[in-house]
């Protein structure tokens, strides 16, 4: 049997567990917009089944359908049979990559991504020369293309690349007078090169709680984007690099401020190295001490509440997919927001419904991605709040785009930025 088909053969039993009840249709954001069976988990699993029974091949059409998934995990959450369709669809993509190779654009991007030095250089240049290409919008952290860029919708609002990446803004160790612990911060690409303001807040908030922050300069992309595209080998290379880099820090804990990055450390890395005992053990040790920032602040650090100042704002929360369904972290961000004096938390209708970003999904399918996001924006609108708090840079960017496209003035921030504001407002209280 060919290697690509073998990838599906391994999950044959898992695919057979789908009883085709179609409950996934209720929650699939993509299916809701397109209403076509091949876009919902039940259909995608049926296609994989058809490959296994020899009724179809891993074709360009197969590849296209596997790509139409946000990996939001809503189907797996809903499934009465416990079928993890999101993971099976990734398997389908892996089989397609093995059989047909990566999409040429992805291939080039990943080639760049795999060379850390070159990648870092390119994104720094993007930060320096970006303004030539992107024009700034009146709102914070928002830019639009000045001229057409291949693969980018002209009217889409993005965030600018940082002039100086986060990791270059700070020394490797950001210490405090009497540190009670050492925490290594995994920034991730979005926070390092784009939303450095989130990274700054993470460091401020940890420092405010007497935590020394280590910023390992050699850290690299967590690998989730390549893993989601089906390139397991490259994902493994990234994982190995990060495992080594963070093990060397000998930090008490690892913290990430993005649901997907944290999930990579906590769940994906330990799964990747079944055949390498040493790496597998190191991955598990790291996983055990990795936390998402809100989870870390509430569950481990029991963050200080006595010196919080007032932040007068009405906030609604968007739960990123990989927070709500990947890591099951939804209470902790709310606990933080509820602790801030003056902050009024108003829940939206479906806070954990996917915002439509889905990493590179929104680049390849902007129109659908926008429709899914418009539903989120409509839910935000009914809350009459002035700030959307979330825990993922990619969600933040897509929601900001949606707010602009829908002529709304709300700001979208990371939860930790609001906590940072509260500490700053209360700085006299120390």
């Amino acid at each position: 049997m060919s290697e690509d088909k073998q990838l599906l053969e391994d999950v044959q039993d898992a695919i057979a567990n789908c009883m085709k009840c179609g409950n996934c249709m209720e929650v699939c954001p993509v299916y809701k917009e397109l209403n076509v069976e091949s876009q919902v988990a039940r259909g995608k699993l049926a296609l994989m089944e058809a490959v296994l029974t020899g009724n179809t091949e891993i074709s360009a059409n197969f590849d296209k359908r596997m790509a139409m998934c946000l990996s939001c995990k809503a189907c797996a959450d809903k499934c009465p049979c416990g079928v993890k369709a999101d993971e099976l669809i990734l398997r389908g993509r892996q089989a397609a990559v093995k059989m047909r190779g990566l999409h040429p654009i992805k291939k080039n991007v990943f080639r760049l991504l795999s060379n850390r030095t070159l990648f870092d250089f390119t994104l720094r240049m993007a930060g320096l020369f970006g303004p030539l290409q992107m024009k700034k919008l009146p709102r914070r952290m928002a830019v639009m293309a000045r001229f057409p860029i291949p693969g980018l919708d002209r009217k889409r609002v993005l965030a600018p690349f940082a002039a100086t990446p986060l990791l270059s803004q700070y020394p490797t160790t950001v210490t405090v007078p009497n540190p009670k612990m050492k925490v290594a911060f995994f920034a991730g690409c979005t926070i390092n090169y784009v939303y450095t303001d989130i990274g700054q807040s993470v460091i401020n908030v940890l420092n405010a709680n007497d935590v020394e922050v280590i910023l390992p300069p050699m850290q690299h992309c967590c690998g989730t984007p390549v893993y989601m595209s089906g390139d397991v080998e490259l994902a493994k290379a990234f994982a190995e690099h990060n495992i080594k880099t963070f093990t060397e820090t000998k930090a008490d804990y690892i913290v990430a401020a993005c649901g997907s990055c944290a999930e990579a450390f906590k769940k994906e890395y330990p799964e990747l190295f079944h055949n390498d005992k040493k790496l597998s053990e190191e991955a598990q040790q790291l996983a055990a001490k990795t936390y998402e920032i809100s989870e870390f602040l509430t569950d481990v650090l029991h963050f200080r509440k006595d010196n919080l100042g007032t932040v007068d704002t009405a906030v609604t929360v968007h739960d990123p997919c990989h927070m709500a369904r990947g890591l099951r972290i939804t209470k902790q961000p709310r606990e933080i927001l509820n602790a801030i004096p003056g902050l009024n938390l108003v829940e939206m209708k479906e806070p954990a419904r996917c915002c439509g970003a889905g990493g590179s999904f929104s680049l390849a399918n902007y129109e659908i991605s926008r429709k899914i996001n418009d539903r989120k924006i409509a839910d935000i609108k009914t809350t009459n709040t002035d700030t959307v708090a979330t825990s993922c840079g990619s969600c933040r960017m897509h929601i900001n785009d949606g707010l602009v496209q829908n002529n709304m003035n709300q700001d979208c921030l990371h939860v930790v930025q609001l906590l940072d504001k509260a500490y700053q407002a209360g700085s006299g209280k120390k």
Partner: protein
Amino acid sequence: MENQLINEFKKIVGDQYVLTSKEELLCYSYDATPGYSHMPDVVISPGNTEEVSKVLALANREKIPVYPRGSGTNLSAGTVPMQGGIVLLMTRFQNLIEIDAANLVAVAEPGVIVSVLNKAVEEFGLIYPPDPGTVATATLGGTVSENAGGLRGLKYGVSKHYVMGLEVVLADGRVMNCGGKNVKDVAGYDLTKLFTGSEGTLGVITKIIVKLVPAPETRKAMMGIFSNLDNAGSAISAIIANKVIPATLEIMDNATIRTVEDYAHVGLPVNAEAVLLIEVDGIPEVVEKEAAKVIEVLMANKADDIQVAKDAAQRDKIWAARRAALPALAKLRPTTFVEDATVPRSKVPDMIRAVNDAAAKHKVTIGTFGHAGDGNMHPTIVCDLRDKEEMERVYKAMNDIFGAAIALGGTLSGEHGIGLGKLPYMEDQFGAVGMSVMKAIKKALDPNCILNPGKLVGEC
């Protein structure tokens, strides 16, 4: 299918609504019924009645099979295109045309999801009672065509009790309207009832007028645990005999109880032979009175334990146990057959015993739960479709189960419809005369047998 024909269909509905790639067709080769699949030649998704009419006229001229389909969540293989041809996807019909609170009526297109209709009428203090387990995914057109029921069937009935009128496109493309908003309407043959539950074999429904009822002001849930199955059976009959019609009166047998407890840990007694889950609804005074009566009956029939929900949280806990029944059973094995053989309510214990005997005799795993109050059982067979030897035993067990239901004066289907799965037993229930009447109706309305051919009445 010839390209020229495909192009004609494209001209009718537009290019983007005609799917022909193998990958798309594969995704319409099945529904929620295990064991049946076949690829269509084309999937056509019309946007209005006129397009449906033109598609059918052309299909009829060319004698191409047409399989109307909503969300494809049915359990009777009702939408599987066993002879190829056209899957007529009705999901673009999403308009909720009217909610007429003065007449307690809603008018909707068949692609509307049932829970969407329910949410919309909720604002008027009304409900559309049929609530199959798939209420959040199934289309109104699909549930009307399959005559779907649900948990509230005992008090509120099934889909056919709520359909007041239809717009139907006939096999040759002609458009017919029947019924309407009149509460009393005895004019002519009851065509509305004929097309309701006809499983897409007589026409394609393009508009539906449904009856709505006032939402109950309050409800009360309770649970009775029985170490003896016959006592549970007597309790079911006695509740009704005492003139209480609960909205819901559910039973779970020992196999189901064990599986649910193992999976959900909701505190069910694993040695009980049966658990009854009961909910009465209506105006508060009546609900209190009826609940007291139910408790009295449960005690008189030797329930070992009775739990009454004191608040919403306790109510949720009781129903969580029932909702867990299917997922818990389904997780045991890859393949799940949910049957819906139904018997008069006094025969429920006999039916459960017959199912248990079938399970033991053919060595298959069956959990039975279901709507005890209306006699609608769900013997749920879990197995692995890929194991041919096991499947032979499964089909033998099914023969026994349907045979028992008919011998007990029951019916093959309480709410899922006939489709293909129960087709072999139809003559046992209807006899040769009954079958020839149904086939005569089918032939009169669809002489070329293009509509969902082979289903419900079989080949004709």
